[in-house]
């Protein structure tokens, strides 16, 4: 087993900045994990960033500089960019686009009402709304130029058009320019000219070109992605510089790395140029981290389920690789962002339970009480009953344990509010609480099923890895009918800092892609030369990597579809020379991928297969690592319940005295029969009646379902 770092620098540090807390995880070369938290500091995120690392250093009896000096990597998932976008703190941007198309960001391909809207808003126009245009008209400039879909220049961009742009940038005093011309990803010549001229004429202005930020078909989403990138560039540059300078000052000797949406790590310089590529890095680090921890533990097929305060996020890892998608919606705008595919619903600890006036039925979510005011039991002014209030009322959560923020949970207030809600339904407070949990768990179960069965995956082939603050309390319910192979609550209390832990394990990674349109018959020579170019680009990029270069993997893939279908399926491309045999193999691979996803007999080769994107991925090889482990393999005394608590179990339709255990007291191979509750500092894990929890090597808790559960 090779270590993460060198003997002198054994630590890998991961940091994840969330809305309330900044989490840190330190992994050493023996696999030991240390975690720490500090409040997030929105006025200057770098303060919370180093505070969280300090918290870990404190646990390790090290000073912050000593920990950093002995760290081989410092990787960072951040919501800095996303928060800046949400708070409207981005820079003032001028959009430059092809003449006749300034309104693309207003028209939004007629999708404005629907993008990011809830189902209730979609169905009821009276509560429906539309997003404001991402830029006002006066911040959009049209230039006369044109490229067609084959990449041919139809209208040359004249000198006077270029001068017009330069003059406008100076005159309008913008901090950033987004250049997004039609078909620039097929021929970048005009975007390149504009960039060169702007960089030399206006050196203080940052320039984002769409062919670099989002080189894919679709003018509207490409333009929005480029605008968001431009808007974040000044802020992100500043932030990355501050983090990097401070880390260096404290003795960290390597590059600070940023988690990007597709699950790879970027050096700070690139993150500063492409801040949009870090927008979704938080949940992504958790998923990719799971893939890596899973593969170190011998699990290649995993469904991840992350239940936090507001959302329930699900992702599929197949053959060790997380699925990826090309589009995402942020701030009710469609973006071209290559991201690890995470599906979400509004179901978390903070999800609000309410009565549908029309039918008199109990519903849960999608609205959340959020961190503020939060659930009623937090006592911060929340008035709506949430899932957490229900968990507390049922005895699943410990009222005597301080929650994030330090206060005690107020069970009386939760029960009282449940009583009021239940009265409208003819239910007592506890039946109402049990109903809320039943409903939210059913919603979560359906989402897991959607991302597996509907995508052609058989859940029986997968293990379900469950993490996030609220997940352990619900795993035993929502996983009952999924028939997955194994249910894993990984690494004990790290569940609450899982994204930070993920960041300690991620790889350098970058995708090079070319958007193409190749209906049959394919021009194999052209495909070969495009792939060769992409591979050359990828290899020369990877040559600059300065760490973890134990090996570099280069893989090909393509987006493909039948005939004139709009939606593509991603399929791996065979390696080796592009010849007739290669093409035959590729067609067969695509058809099997298609039929696996959509069912036997749905493919139809007569419709022909069209290639729409070629892609080459380069990543540092995972290599052999120490497996992260949170349980020291040492004997401990036989466990005893720390206490007993009355808990209501719907299966029993009654209360039962339930043993409560401290997570730290469990040892490897120990089993706990439900009903029982295991409490960690930040997580609660539940074994329901007739279920069993078993502690595995490394500190995973395995949830075993009984033959007969409700």
């Amino acid at each position: 087993v090779t270590s993460v770092g060198s003997p002198e620098r054994p630590y890998s540090i991961g940091v994840d900045i969330g809305g309330t807390f900044t989490d840190c995880a330190v992994l050493d070369d023996a696999g030991a994990v240390v975690t720490g938290k500090a409040p997030t500091t929105p006025s200057d995120f770098s303060v919370g960033f180093f505070d969280a690392i300090s918290a870990c250093a404190g646990v390790m009896d090290l000073s912050l500089p000593a920990l950093l000096a002995h760290a081989s990597r410092l990787a960072h998932g951040t919501t800095t960019g996303l928060n800046a976008l949400l708070d409207g703190r981005g820079a003032k941007v001028l959009l430059v686009t092809t003449a006749g198309h300034a309104d693309a960001i207003r028209i939004m391909n007629s999708r404005g009402r629907a993008l990011g809207a809830s189902m209730a808003e979609l169905l009821d126009w009276s509560i429906s709304s539309q997003p404001d245009p991402i830029l006002p008209k006066e911040q959009v400039l049209e230039v006369h130029e044109r490229v067609d879909c084959l990449g041919n220049v139809v209208v040359e961009m004249t000198e006077s058009e270029i001068s017009k742009v330069v003059a406008a940038v100076r005159e309008r005093q913008v901090q950033a320019v987004a250049v997004s011309l039609l078909w620039s990803f097929a021929n970048r010549v005009h975007e390149d000219v504009l960039r060169r001229r702007l960089v030399s004429a206006c050196p203080d202005v940052s320039v984002s070109c769409s062919y670099e930020v989002a080189p894919r078909l679709g003018h509207y989403p490409r333009t929005v992605t480029t605008i968001m990138n431009a808007s974040l560039t000044p802020l992100m540059s500043d932030y990355a510089e501050r983090i990097t300078a401070r880390a260096r000052q404290l003795g960290f000797a390597s590059e600070v790395l940023f988690v990007q949406n597709d699950g790879g790590l970027l050096p700070s310089g690139e993150a500063a140029r492409f801040p949009v590529s870090t927008l979704r890095s938080g949940p992504v680090a958790g998923v990719v981290g799971t893939a890596l921890v899973g593969s170190l533990q011998g699990e290649a097929d995993i469904v991840t389920a992350d239940m936090g305060g507001t959302t329930f996020d699900v992702s599929v890892i197949h053959g060790g690789h997380p699925g990826r998608s090309n589009e995402t919606v942020i701030r009710r705008q469609m973006l071209h962002l290559r991201s690890v595919d995470v599906e979400s619903i509004g179901a978390g600890g903070g999800s609000i339970a309410w009565v549908d006036e029309r039918t008199g039925l109990l519903r849960v979510g999608p609205h959340s009480a959020g961190a503020v005011p939060g659930p009623i039991c937090y006592g911060r002014g929340g008035t709506a009953v949430t899932v957490t209030d229900a968990d507390l009322a049922l005895g699943v959560l410990n009222p005597d344990r301080p929650f994030a923020g330090g206060s005690r949970l107020n069970r009386e207030a939760a029960v009282e509010a449940l009583g009021r809600l239940g009265q409208r339904l003819g239910l007592d407070p506890i039946s109402c609480a049990a109903g809320i949990v039943e409903i939210v768990d059913s919603l979560m179960e359906d989402l897991v099923r959607r991302v597996t069965v509907q995508r052609g995956y058989d859940p029986r082939d997968f293990s379900l890895w469950i993490y996030g603050g609220a997940a352990g309390a619900h795993a035993g319910l929502f996983s009952r009918q999924l028939h997955v192979r194994r249910i894993v609550l990984p690494l004990g209390d790290t569940a609450s800092v899982w994204s930070a832990l993920g960041a300690t394990l991620l790889q350098r990674r970058r995708e090079f892609q070319k958007s193409v349109y190749m209906p049959p018959p394919w021009n194999l020579r052209q495909i070969g030369s495009e792939l060769q170019q992409l591979e050359t680009d990828a290899e020369s990029y990877a040559a600059g990597w300065s760490f973890d270069t134990t090996g570099v993997q280069v893989r090909r893939s393509a987006d493909m579809k039948y005939g004139l279908q709009v939606h593509e399926v991603e399929a791996p491309l065979p390696s080796g020379p592009v010849d007739d045999g290669w093409a035959k193999e590729l067609t067969a691979d695509f058809e099997s991928a298609y039929e696996r996803r959509f069912g036997a007999g749905t493919g139809f080769s007569g419709a022909g297969v069209t290639l729409t994107a070629l892609r080459v991925v380069v990543e540092s090889a995972a290599g052999a690592r120490s497996v992260p482990a949170v349980v020291p393999e040492r004997p401990v005394d036989e466990w005893r319940p720390a206490e007993m608590r009355r808990v209501f179990w719907r299966e029993l339709d009654d209360w039962a005295d339930t043993p409560i255990l401290h997570g730290q007291s469990l040892r490897v191979d120990e089993s706990i029969d439900g009903p029982a509750i295991v409490e960690y500092a930040h997580t609660t894990v539940v074994a329901r009646p007739e279920q069993r929890l078993r502690m595995e090597r490394f500190g995973n808790l395995i949830l075993e379902l009984a033959r007969r559960s409700l």
């Binding site: 207003r106 629907a114 009276s126 044109r146 879909c149 029309r358 109903g435 509907q454």
Partner: protein
Amino acid sequence: MSVVDQAAEADGERQTRRHELIYGYLPKDKLLVDPSLGFHQEEDLDLDPITYEVIRSKLWNLNIDHGETVRRTSGSFPVADANDFNASLATETGEGTAFGPYQWFFAGYADLVIRWTLEHRSHNPGIADADVFIQNDPWVGTNHQNDAAVFSPVFCEGKVFAWIYNCVHQRDLGGTVPGSIAPNAASVYDEATFFPPLKLVEAGLLREDILDVWTRRSRHSEISALEVKSQLAGVNFARQRFLEIVDRYGPKTVKRAMNKTLEDSSRTVGERLSRLPDGIWRDERYMAGATADDPRPYKLCLSYEIRGDRLRVSNAGTDPAVGSFNFTTGAFRGSVVSGLFHALAFDVDLCGGGLLRQIDFDVEPGRINSAIHPTAVGSSIGMIVSCSQAHSLAAKMVSGSPDLARHGFAPCTVHTLASAIFYGTDQYGNQYQNALLDDNGGGGGAFVDRDGLDNSGSSLGVSKPIPDVENVERGMPLLCLYRQEALDSGGPGRFRGAPAIVSAWVGHNSDDSYCIMSGLLPHATMGRGVDGALPASAGSDLYALESTCQAWFEGGRIPATPSDLRVAAPELVHAVKELRPFRTGSVYQALSNAAAGYGDPLARSPELVAGDLAGGRVSIPDAGHMYGVVIGADGRYDESSTCARRGTLIASRLSASRQPREPMIGSSSDAPESERVIASVALAGGILCCWHCGWHLAQPRGSYRLGCRELDERPSTVSAHLRDSDDTAGEPLVVRRYLCPGCGIALDSEICRAGDEPYWDVQVTGSMGTGGRRPTVGGDGNGAAAPGRLGSP
């Protein structure tokens, strides 16, 4: 619905019922089903509310996943990009418990298809487990031949328990014209061949003979096969998932959950109808474009009669079927369901069956909206008009209701549909055929308390996007010169409709390409404003065979605005329903339908008009002409000049208008606090009067329109975006506004013939509820400070 099972008696009756293939199928009270087919109807009445919510949500999610499976695998551009399809789950007798968030008119005939199949296929060839049927017969139940249904019974314990259904717009199913929409069809024999329900899958085995029959008539049989397979994938997925749910919760529990969904939804709709006054609500309008050489307007009529908690729908008064823009009874039913969803069923999770339980249909056969076989019905454009009519009549019906008025918004884009299909040889040297969907662009109609939603797409469903410019250019030999919002196009009103989209396309890289222009003539716009708002433009498409675009390109310029295009293509003419060559340099400009406004434009808050000006939605001339708002040099409105200007405009409209046909004298001071029949007509002191000023208009059982002054104007003088009639021989169409003789505010508007008598649009037959309800109109939706009323003009 109960089921008759006496075979002997049924046989003769079944033959009689085959006549419905001539007139259009509407099920009788009892279905005639072969006794060999059993129905699983037992239910567990003790369903607890938590389990119900869990199952309800599972069935909803199952249906969404069904729809997504179809959408993602379909080879059909309209399905994948424009959501022109739907999926549903139905009870054993076909009542739809959940539809998907796609196009909603499909909900109005999915049950017809299932019930016809039960009546006519249970006997021969039989209905069995794992069978799947396919059909596109408009007289059984579909919008037009392109909309093909694939559907399957779900059996439980040997009996029919439920049905899984989807219907998608297939791109080409043969006929005389590529794309299968023949704008000049004389009869259905000029259109795509259609089939009543065929057994496509028998006991789980795909019948290749039937698949070949289906696909061989298409110009793109391989795409057609892919479309069918995508529908099968959806049905198979949904059936398997449904059976898992039945297995887990038990058939009686699931059955109860489905029935309860229907009961809750129909009760909700019924309660809403009960809160509206009993009465008859009528809409009469003209549509034009029956064929290429017929610009005459034809009358389309619709009425809603409320009696207690039920609604009776009739098409009485509609002109006989003519030309190619007709549609069948099933499609008429679909359009009514689509129009009523927004006003009455916006929160019942698209439970179409629940809504339909409260509606009775009274259909006169042989009309434009109830065409009999073999009338041409393949174009779909008439059905879209009917959706718009059903929608705007529903908006009027609820406009006086304090709690429902905000659900009744004005017509959105795609009210007067035009379309262009391009085909030929593409830039890659392959054959292609695709629709330009830019006519579907644009936004939403205004609400009672805020402007319409810009660029929302139509209200025919949840979302009807248009393809990205680059997507269009990749699939067709076209270059987009511009795609932008059209200035001043949003339907004028106290609250404004969303603007239209104007785009222009030049032929590029192909000299073997053609364009089939289709659709309605825009002088008869269906963008009828609500509550006295002016009509919104129906847009209009322009075409020129030649242009100088290439010379512009060589000079480093793009004709990037409609005025540039006039220079580059001086030969531009209005597109008519015909096939034209479209080669390199040919140009096509699509101007979508604008959405309509709500309320009299002179009552629009001047701040909102100034905001429109700043946002590029309204020009200074239109601010003055249409809204009576005078804008100063600083871009702000001038209050005193605006007041004076509005006074002048009111005075001039009153002086230009005709005397009321049945004048009334007097006014009621308590009108603003009184119960309203429609938005601007109140019932105060036992008299129908103007809600704004209390002017008496009619007796309570009379027609308020007869007490209004009538102002008839040529459309082009009202707005540069409205067109005068192409029918030079006939009586011209005018914009008519019904003005309150007291305050001059427009209480209603329409497009009609100058000689038309005012039809009785609101006929109250019952008592109005409790009276004295405070109106909710006005408010602060878009920063408007005061309700939409003028002071003393």
